[in-house]
């Protein structure tokens, strides 16, 4: 590990993504990335009794696929890092119990996947571990009932709200060589610009993404045009427009190579307001579209900045504004 500037870490000893697995719901399957989504399900509950149990089953399948894709066995996994959006990370906790490998739960809302991969890369670089499993999931129905209203409750959403994706992604990070190399990581600082409206998460998270990106570019002395693809996690249309503006003010121009996964995950004819949000948003697209494109050589250098809004229903009801964070990973084709 080598420190660059204030916040960025460069992975010195090689660290690769050797396995990936994803699972998406019906709505996501019919979205923009439909060609890349390999596994999907039409049953939200996965044949279980509750949405929460269904979410756990989905996460179990995702982990299984990631481990299988890496051509490993569960016993080869040294540690499992991950989290989800449920209170106390129940989904991941229950899945970890079944896996029976050491587990550390990570809560970073929708930026869980980059936080986990960042920590995994540091651990591998440190030399203590060989294979690390990282995964995360979000589920529309279970998140909706935890954060908002019952599903059948008839209300109108604000035009600037986002739609929690039912999707998840898992990765096996290893020191074993593979085409997808993790080269740099940058953990973000928590930013709070005073946005209180829980429906407007894009506006709450855009400053965090801007802060992490600007610090990363300053630390590495690079600029947005040095990358083939820059993706933010789930800012939505409004949030990504705000990010473009904020970055422009700081002197970085985000152009054609920038895209927000939340904004693009659903196709335009699907009713999703500003786009998707949720931990599974960036994880599932990283596991499918981004890695596919890296493998076929379209992208050589990719930045993924997953953003997370760190509020709870209690802090929100007490009128506190929404703090948010963004963690960045840089991937390269080796």
């Amino acid at each position: 590990m080598k420190r660059l500037g204030k916040q960025t870490l460069e992975v010195v000893n090689n660290c690769y993504i050797i396995g990936r697995g994803s699972l998406v719901g019906e709505k996501e399957k019919n979205g923009t990335f439909r060609k890349y989504m390999e596994y999907s399900t039409d049953d939200d509950k996965m044949g279980e009794k509750t949405f929460e149990k269904g979410e756990r089953k989905m996460l179990r399948l995702i982990n299984k696929r990631a481990i299988k894709d890496a051509e490993l066995l569960v016993d080869d996994i040294d540690i499992y890092l991950g989290g989800d959006l449920m209170n106390q990370l129940v989904s991941s906790n229950y899945v970890a119990e079944v896996l029976q490998v050491p587990f550390v739960g990570i809560y970073s809302a929708c930026s869980t996947i980059t936080a986990s991969i960042g920590i995994a890369a540091s651990l591998i670089d440190g030399g203590g571990f060989k294979n690390i499993l990282c995964s995360t999931i979000s589920h529309f129905s279970s998140a909706e009932r935890q954060y908002r209203y019952p599903l059948e409750f008839g209300n109108q959403r604000q035009s600037y709200s986002q739609w929690t994706v039912t999707a998840g992604g898992g990765f096996v990070i290893s020191s074993k060589k593979s085409p997808i190399k993790i080269t740099k990581i940058c953990f973000g600082r928590v930013q709070d610009f005073g946005v209180v409206d829980i429906a407007n998460m894009g506006a709450a998270m855009a400053p965090a993404a801007c802060d992490t990106l600007c610090n990363f570019f300053a630390d590495t002395k690079t600029k947005p045009s040095d990358y083939d693809f820059i993706a933010t996690g789930d800012l939505g249309k409004l949030g990504s427009d705000i990010l473009r503006d904020l970055m422009k003010k700081k002197g970085f121009l985000l152009e054609q190579n920038y895209s927000d996964i939340g904004h693009s995950i659903y196709s335009f004819d699907e009713e999703s307001y500003q786009g998707g949000s949720g931990a599974g948003c960036s994880a599932s697209v990283l596991a499918t579209y981004i890695i596919d494109k890296l493998l076929d050589g379209t992208f050589k250098k990719v930045l993924l900045v997953a953003t997370g809004a760190l509020m709870s229903t209690i802090s929100n009801q007490q009128g506190d504004s929404i703090p948010s964070v963004a963690h960045l990973i840089e991937l390269e084709k080796s």
Partner: protein, 152 residues
């Protein structure tokens, strides 16, 4: 600290400017159409009841109308149709008694998994609770004012 406050203020103004607004004309039109339709339905039920029982007084007829609308709403909620109508109609579905029925039925369905006591029992009024508390509080105020007026 002052800097942060100024920064936040500017940012929130900027976000306010950027955030897409909901078209008020469409919202009003949808609410008018759907709400009006529900009220027409109610009137229709009332007229039918009245036609079959000419001796029934108006108070009982309106009670029957409410019961029918509530039953239909709960059925539509259970079949997963009501939230689609409400998405279109907005306040048009929420203001009539249908909104109230839907808020209770949807909670009861949603929290069934947490059991009869802590699920349905305590979460059923999750959305409707504040409305009931409000209604009771205002009726106390109105009652007090009314009794004061009667004193003089």
């Amino acid at each position: 600290m002052e800097n942060t406050e100024k920064r936040n203020e500017e940012y929130l103004l900027y976000v306010e400017r950027e955030t897409p607004k909901t078209g008020w004309f469409n919202s009003l039109l949808h609410a008018f159409l759907v709400g009006g339709m529900i009220c027409c339905l109610g009137q229709m039920f009332g007229d039918i009841i009245k036609a079959y029982n000419p001796t029934m007084d108006m108070l009982r007829v309106s009670a029957w109308i409410s019961i029918i609308i509530i039953t239909i709403t709960i059925l539509l909620t259970a079949f997963g149709v009501f939230d689609r109508i409400a998405k279109f109609g907005g306040a048009g579905t929420f203001i009539p008694i249908s909104g109230f029925a839907n808020s209770i039925a949807s909670c009861a369905i949603e929290f069934k998994n947490e059991g009869l006591v802590f699920g349905i029992g305590s979460k059923m009024f999750f959305v409707a609770g504040p409305v009931i508390v409000n209604g009771v509080a205002y009726s106390i105020i109105v009652g007090l004012v009314y009794s004061l007026i009667l004193l003089f």
